[in-house]
Amino acid sequence: MTIAESPGAGPNWIFPVTPAANESVYTVSDFQGFSWLPVLYAPKGESPQISWNQSLAKSISFKNFNRTVIIHLRNNYKWSNGKPVTARDVEFYIWLLKAAVKISPSNFGNYTPGLFPDNLSSMGTPNNYTLVLKLKHTYNPNFLELSQLGVLEPLPTAAWSKTSLHGRDIPFNNIRNAEKIYNFLAGQSKKLATYGTNPLWKVVDGPYVISSFDPSTDGCSFVRNKRYTGFGRPHINKVVEVAFTSTQAEFNQLLQGKIDFGGVDFSDLKQVPNLKRHGYAVWGAPDFGFNYVVYNFKDGTNDFGHIIGQLYVRQALAHLQNEPAVIKSPAMFDGAASQAYGPVPTSPSSPFTPKSAAHDPYPFSIAKARTLLGKHGWRKVNGVLTCEKTSCGGGIPKGTKFETNIIYGSQPAIIGQQDEAWASNMAKLGIKITLQSETFNQIISTYSDVGTNAKNRNQWGMIDFGGFTGFVYPTMNEIFNTTGSFNFGGFSNPAVDRAIHASEYSLNNSAVQKELNLETQLQPGLFQPMPDGIAAWKKSLSGPAYSFAAESQYVLEPNLWYFKK
């Protein structure tokens, strides 16, 4: 079968310890994931939870206030060289991870200093199928399973614990050797032209094994792992991932019927009926992430930092966003998005969604926004909303004008369109907004980090680069906590800090709901609709519904698919 790669996002790193520079869902889930399986498999379709059927672990238990984690592996998985997949193979992975981050923190894309593997005090394998991890702290069980331990995956010790292609195995369980092995394997992963032939990459425990790779396009093909013993043995013998230069080029191939499964870009939504006529099924859902406009709480220009620091202002701004209209608009999402009032969108359904985020706490209403601002002393003076009381709260002096700028990402165009619609609503109240377009990289490198970088503080009032994806466990650590690395606008609230800490470190399973509830109420940024990830596949292609739904979370499961006759 033929699968379309996302244009411009081809995989380029095969070794499953993926550096931050190469870390992407397309490399990890839609390329490495065909050949090497995780200990804990998530998501389950479009639901952010562990799919135990698809996991190498059959169960997991915690002791000692979650400081001891015992992972029980299934005993029916084998490497393609015939050797069993054991707990020692997971231990091998952890040693390589430790070596990678010791050499450079950038060698592991999921690395956060202090968290895994730094928080590991010891590990052991009492038998072939049991792995015991002792952690330095107590962690929330959901956070542990979905975030920390979600990275674990066994690697073939017997085939990879070496420092040259034809060398002998060396012991991996000391950091010096682990570094040597890591350097060798990472070095092999830089030889893209050899991916299809290198014997290292032929030892897999997943349903498919790589058979070719084109380094000029990142197109590749996989064949069925004939010795695959796990869940979902493949029906389709060969999977070809085709690279595309643009969404248009990919869509043309869909229309010609040359692709069995591929993404549908927003620019092609209008042609979905045409696609259906050509024999395709089309479906979409948002991924586990969120889009938002970042507020700059440190902005001294026009006292905006103080203005946005007021909860009533943020609530009023939320009232000025017309999410249903933006989603419905044929010029914007054309129906292919879900409303989001906090960090978790209303769809797909998530066990972590708090009640407050299921319904809009600040529905679109210019009148309500006007009342909220008016109650606190804001009046329109010469066309500009101005503080007319001695203080409009938080030290905003009389005479302060409500004017600022929004710097938004130039791509995709929907970002700017949403901000323009929002600014237009703000203008009706006299809030003066200057819109400025910049590239994503420019926004991130130049305007972020007002917390430690004083020169950035007064350059912007709001930025909109899009948002974040891939939060299977949706704590906003690093984003809305005071010291967070991605707390670009310097939001700070002790209650949120405590809630985020509880999401990671408390034993309470509902801690993250409490955190999300608080963030939804406090609006540390303007939460925006979450677009659907849309895919089209030939109607002759079939399989369990969840395996198609998983695509909305950038996970491809072709081993579960088959062609109807």
């Binding site: 931050a20 450079s104 956060t112 000029s216 643009s246 229309l255 990289n441």
Partner: protein, 315 residues
């Protein structure tokens, strides 16, 4: 002649050095911390700092530039951290596709446009000239992507005569030999170029027809085909040599629109994608390459013109 060549070579080196310096400085100003661009928005600050140090981006900018130039002189154009490949490899992988698509379209365009332009000049203001002029204006004013859309919709999707994408192979020879798959991208490039070249050729032809040497040739009783071939074509074609010379950067630079539309991985698309990704080393290398190609193209055109036209002498 030798002194001229030496002078031009020195000037060319200075120009290329200037291009490298300006590009390097501009990218440094736009994003002084490449680690952030390479590792992405969710990379931790220690990861970014460590990456910058590991790759020498914590050093002063002049030191970084010095290293870069030194490496370039030794054939090392740097490493694309985004694409996990040496930049030189990326260029070698992508250049043949661009050169074939653009090169074959340039040659085809010339082969079609030169006789067409001469024909129009000789038959100026006739119905056929006006019809060809109208056709040329239509294709010339049509955006390349629009023309491509029409061709794809008509010839690929509706009638299924040609594939909607260029040949999909990394190997050069199979790519070149697959004329069926490459027909539409080459046709798109050729149609737009023919329009421009034929207008240019027509104008040159009209100029040449008014010259004394044409009248003299006719007065001497030379038959019309010989006048056109020996005197009109040769003289009118001379400026085309310059045009071909300045097309050399296009051959290497690739064609972003056509490569994007027809799913052909070439240098134009590589440059565009990596520019958006702030992939420093790839962007600088391709800018340098374009600079070298421009300088070399002009240089070659000047020399070729002196060979083709004995009236031009270099001092």
């Amino acid at each position: 002649m030798t002194a001229y060549l030496i002078r031009r070579t020195i000037i060319s080196i200075i120009v290329i050095f200037g291009v490298a310096l300006i590009t390097f400085l501009m990218l440094h100003v736009i994003a002084p911390s490449p680690g952030r661009e390479v590792l992405g928005i969710r990379a931790s600050t220690p990861s970014v700092n460590s990456w910058n140090k590991q790759h020498g981006y914590d050093r002063p900018v002049w030191a970084q530039f010095g290293t870069y130039i030194w490496d370039c002189l030794h054939g090392n154009l740097g490493y694309s951290y985004k694409l996990n490949q040496p930049v030189r490899t990326l260029i070698i992988e992508n250049a043949p596709h661009s050169i074939w698509l653009s090169g074959s379209s340039v040659i085809l365009s010339i082969l079609i446009a030169v006789p067409l332009g001469i024909y129009q000049a000789v038959r100026r203001n006739t119905v056929s000239d006006q019809a060809l002029t109208a056709a040329a204006f239509v294709t010339y004013s049509m955006p390349q992507n629009f023309l491509g859309f029409i061709l794809i919709d008509l010839l690929a999707i509706k009638f299924n005569i040609f594939p909607a994408e260029a040949a999909q192979t990394e190997k050069v020879l199979p790519y070149i030999l697959n004329w069926h798959a490459n027909f539409l991208p080459i046709a798109t490039l050729t149609l737009t170029s023919v329009a421009a070249y034929s207008r240019y050729m027509r104008s040159q032809g009209l100029d040449a027809l008014a010259q004394d040497y044409i009248r003299l040739a006719r007065a001497k009783g030379l038959n019309e085909p010989a006048v056109l071939r020996r005197h009109l074509l040769r003289n009118a074609f001379l400026p085309m040599i310059t045009l071909i010379g300045v097309s050399i950067p296009v051959l290497l630079g690739g064609n972003l629109v056509v490569e994007t539309l027809y799913n052909s991985h070439g240098l134009g698309l590589l440059f565009y994608n990596e520019l958006l990704q702030y992939d420093f080393n790839t962007v600088i290398a391709l800018t340098l390459l374009a600079g070298v190609a421009t300088v070399v193209g002009n240089f070659v055109a000047d020399i070729a013109l002196t060979i083709a036209d004995p009236r031009i002498r270099i001092s």
